[in-house]
């Protein structure tokens, strides 16, 4: 498996000094197609004019965008493809290059799930993305072993806007791991990733998105899986790193009979603020969803679960369940849970949610200590057990081991 790492060294001025001219000059000098230059310019104009979104639970006061310089060119994308699958017609390559080699495909899908004009930061991402990946799986092709893309940031005072565009034609199968990693940075940095995944009729995706940034990073990202008729997804979201995280995520069950099974694990310690806003949007009929998110907070960590089940007017016989549970390890740690349910149809098969938060139960600790374990060991086992469903759902042993170690270090 060849590891392709693309790097160059040129950067852009800080966000404060950047203008529309820079955007179009950069796009043109890179030889990008005209429609893309126009898209970037429109997004930049929107960004420059829009007020920041009102995010009551995401504190952006420590982010100083004017001092942060976006990366230019592909600098932090690491794609681990597999020769065998490329021979089956799977395309896995930097998105920037794909805008030329697979222009029609990219043009057809780019920005079609996540509207660049949703708010100021989505527009910023659409204007400035350089790192990124196109992953295309042709009809009927089944990729069982996980394909991996990793986005890295090496330095502070930088911004990276990685863009993953993933397309599965009909009756295809894909197993994808997407990671965000960096060392601890002493200067604030910005990550603005976008992931759009289109799952064709009867196709199946396993998708693990794993955020393990080092300290100092603000992560303002957006992810969406769009499921066509009878398509199914298994999604695991892990949020462990960074300073501030605001992830808008959506499973959109567009086609009849589509389904999602979504597991999440978030651990905020020290002064981390980690927010995830996962949406289950039911549009097709006979669609099924299951969400199970786990949150652990310790130190002065703060975590927000802003989940939503949205059942649209045209959907019939939806079945959905949302669960979110939080454990507080220290008195100063906080978590908010705001699960919502909006139903615009009167034909629902099942809809429910459950949410709990609290400390580890004394009775659990007592039971374990009565078997000889120390209190620390008991707490460790309970937290690891809490995250077990998400960890077990990861498709690669090395990743599971790395994340297990990372979580243990945070306990």
């Amino acid at each position: 498996m060849p590891d392709t790492l693309f790097r160059s060294t040129n950067g852009l001025p800080g966000l404060g000094a950047l203008g529309a001219d820079d955007i179009s000059a950069m796009s043109q000098s890179a030889g990008e197609p005209g429609w893309l230059t126009e898209q970037r310019l429109a997004a930049w104009t929107f960004f420059a004019q829009a007020l920041p979104p009102v995010w009551r639970r995401t504190d952006l006061t420590q982010l100083q965008p004017e001092t942060i310089a976006p990366l230019s060119g592909i600098q932090g994308t690491s794609i681990l493809a597999d020769d065998a699958v490329t021979r089956q017609g799977v395309v896995m390559m930097p998105l920037l290059a794909a805008t030329k080699s697979h222009e029609a495909l990219v043009r057809q899908y780019l920005g079609k799930a996540i509207d660049p004009m949703s708010h100021k930061f989505s527009a910023l991402r659409a204007a400035l993305w350089q790192d990124g990946m196109l992953l295309y799986v042709p009809r009927g092709v089944e990729v069982a072993a996980p394909l991996r893309v990793t986005y890295q940031l090496a330095d502070g005072s930088r911004a990276i806007f990685p863009y993953s565009l993933v397309i599965l034609e009909a009756h295809a199968q894909l197993n994808l791991i997407e990671e965000y990693t960096s060392p601890d940075l002493d200067q604030p940095a910005l990550a603005g990733p976008t992931t759009e995944i289109f799952v064709g009729p009867g196709s199946h995706i396993r998708y693990a998105s794993v955020q393990t940034w080092g300290q100092g990073i603000h992560h303002l990202g957006s992810q969406m899986i769009v499921l066509d008729r009878d398509a199914a997804g298994e999604w695991v979201s892990l949020s462990l790193g960074g300073k501030v995280q605001h992830i808008e995520a959506e499973s959109r069950m567009q086609g009849d009979g589509s389904a999602i099974n979504w597991l999440g694990a978030t651990f905020a310690n020290q002064q981390q603020h980690l927010l995830t806003a996962p949406w289950l949007r039911h549009i097709g009929s006979n669609t099924n969803s299951l969400m199970d998110f786990k949150t652990v907070v310790s130190g002065e960590g703060y975590s927000v679960f802003d989940g939503m089940i949205k059942i649209e007017h045209e959907s019939r016989a939806t079945s959905t369940r949302l669960e979110e549970h939080a454990i507080h390890l220290t008195p100063k740690a906080r978590s908010d849970s705001i699960p919502g349910l909006k139903i615009d149809t009167n034909d629902v098969a099942k809809a429910g949610h459950a949410s709990t938060s609290g400390q580890i139960e004394d009775e659990h600790l007592f039971y374990m200590q009565s078997r000889g374990m120390s209190q620390e060991e008991a707490r460790r086992l309970i937290v690891m057990g809490f995250f077990d469903p998400a960890l077990q759902a990861l498709p690669a042993d090395d990743l599971r081991e790395r994340l297990t170690a990372l979580i243990e270090a945070k306990i």
Partner: protein, 259 residues
């Protein structure tokens, strides 16, 4: 140094309420000691107090085992001293597999101060072999080990798992709180056989039960009766048979007349 469990004038409160009002009890090494008594008489409170439940406040009295003042020991230290409690209501912990739970418990017992836990830990192969043996003896199917601890277990399965833990940890003094409740007659025999197989001259067992039927299989040397926070009567196995026949009223009357 005595390997008897010695309880003297134990007084225990939960919140404001005094539950144990001066319990005297000795479980001799090598013997099986049964405790019977009406609901609410304080049997589980006694069991929890021996194990060191933080919600039970000991206001007076002593517990001694192996020359140690048990009341000064943390919960995990009591376990390592050889004390074991089979819970009346075991807790379930979703996410934690029986396998991982048992391995951590065993390795906690094997850990030695100043040594790397990795050095003293039982090898995975040895652990698996031991687990398989004991599960076979308790007629538990092997997939129990991969399930989450007591999560969705039936009442009887939970009780069996308590005995599996006891078999794996090999305590020298086991308190079994109503391990027979929830067991069907076949399971009762299996569990009793499991306990009898563990019994040895160095071991003591305190078995709390309401029913003679358990005592047909786990034969007690001594039977004590608890009422209203005290041990009011001790005798031989015939005491349990008398209770089965006559209920508690005659003892209650005797106790009040003597008081």
């Amino acid at each position: 140094m005595s390997n008897d469990l010695i309880i003297k004038q134990l007084r225990v409160r939960i919140g404001e309420k005094e539950i144990l009002k001066g319990v005297d009890l000795t479980v001799q090494q090598g013997t099986i000691h049964a405790i019977m008594g009406p609901n609410g008489s304080g049997k589980s409170t006694l069991a929890y107090s021996i194990a060191g439940h933080p919600g039970y406040e000991v206001t007076d009295g002593e517990i001694w085992y192996k020359g140690q003042n048990v009341l000064e020991l943390d919960v995990d230290e009591r376990s390592k001293l050889g004390l074991f409690l089979a819970f009346q209501y075991p807790v379930s912990i979703p996410g934690l597999t029986v396998n991982n739970f048992l391995r951590s418990a065993i390795n906690a017992h094997r850990a030695e101060e100043g040594k790397d836990p990795k050095e003293t830990a039982m090898s995975v192969a040895e652990f698996r072999k031991l687990l398989r043996e004991h599960m076979r003896q308790l007629e538990m199917s092997e997939d129990f080990a991969r399930r989450y601890l007591n999560d969705g277990f039936s009442g009887g399965e939970k009780k069996r798992l308590e005995i599996l833990q006891m078999a794996m940890l090999k305590p020298s003094m086991a308190v079994m709180d109503e391990t027979d409740s929830g067991l069907d007659i076949d399971a009762l025999k299996i569990v009793a056989n499991g306990v009898n197989a563990l019994m040895n001259p160095g071991m003591g067992v305190l078995v709390i039960t309401h029913y003679q039927r358990l005592l047909n299989y786990i034969k007690p040397d001594v039977v004590s009766i608890m009422m209203e926070g005290r041990v009011v009567r001790s005798g031989g196995p015939e005491l349990a048979l008398a209770l089965e026949e006559k209920g508690y009223d005659w003892i209650r009357e005797e106790v009040t007349t003597h008081a």
